[in-house]
Homo-oligomer: 149 residues x 2
């Protein structure tokens, strides 16, 4: 097996052709990872969620990391990692256009299974359904691919 870096073009192409990954946020130097759905468009990664630990942490510190991978087998895999900034798309006159764009992008991939639209029971209490739309800018991106020699 040999591991090589992907070009910028190939890394972006990988993001475009996938819709599921993991996002990490940070509070007091402690990271937190959650799986999430996304839609890539024009150097931004769009997604939505209910308000919870991830959104609370990202509101306080917008630095995020997104990792998307495809593991064919132990010797054939691809992983793309993005560093970027979280930006909320508020439900206001100013934010409406971007919010509608995000909705359309995410709708394409039938991502409606995300916890963002599901009633979640935590500690016996139903969590409020308050969808938050957001996007993460791509400040840095790197990709690696393993292939059998």
């Amino acid at each position: 097996m040999h591991i090589e870096e992907l070009t910028l073009h190939d890394s972006l192409h990988f993001l475009v052709t996938h819709q599921f990954g993991r996002i990490a946020c940070v509070r007091h130097s402690q990271p937190y990872i959650t799986p999430f759905n996304y839609a890539y468009h024009d150097h931004f990664i769009y997604s939505f969620s209910t308000v919870g630990q991830k959104i609370e942490w990202l509101r306080a510190n917008p630095l995020a990391c997104i990792e998307v991978d495809e593991i064919e087998n132990p010797r054939e895999w691809t992983s793309v990692v993005v560093s970027g900034r979280y930006e909320e798309l508020p439900n206001t006159a100013d934010g409406r256009t971007l919010r509608e764009q995000a909705f359309k992008l995410l709708q394409k991939h039938t991502l409606w299974w995300e916890p963002g639209f599901v009633r979640t029971t935590l500690h016996g209490t139903a969590r409020p359904l308050e969808p938050v739309y957001y996007r993460v800018s791509i400040e840095e991106i790197s990709g690696h691919q393993a292939k059998p020699i």
Copy 2:
């Protein structure tokens, strides 16, 4: 679909029965995620790697997050998230016992495909092969499972 919390027992069982996940580390409030192999044993997650961004960041800030998931389909999935502290298992007289234990644990699952033992070409230069063994303590753990209603 309904999302529920896993019990502590079920979350730990999920870690024991899987060997692949994602680990996040942090520098200057910026998270970084990489896929990795691990072996769980007695409230620690053992793994190894070559020296690179992940190890350098974890040496500077030992706070780590590990996420392990199994996505059957959009309505059936499990995700377990661990917050813990990185601890290196040095190649010294003191560290040897733990290092050998880590080696044995990881060997069981034929994890030798990890970049830790693969020559990686970055920017045209082969990266040195210097395996670092480490473990992450489980300070907090939570699990969620989605099931169709």
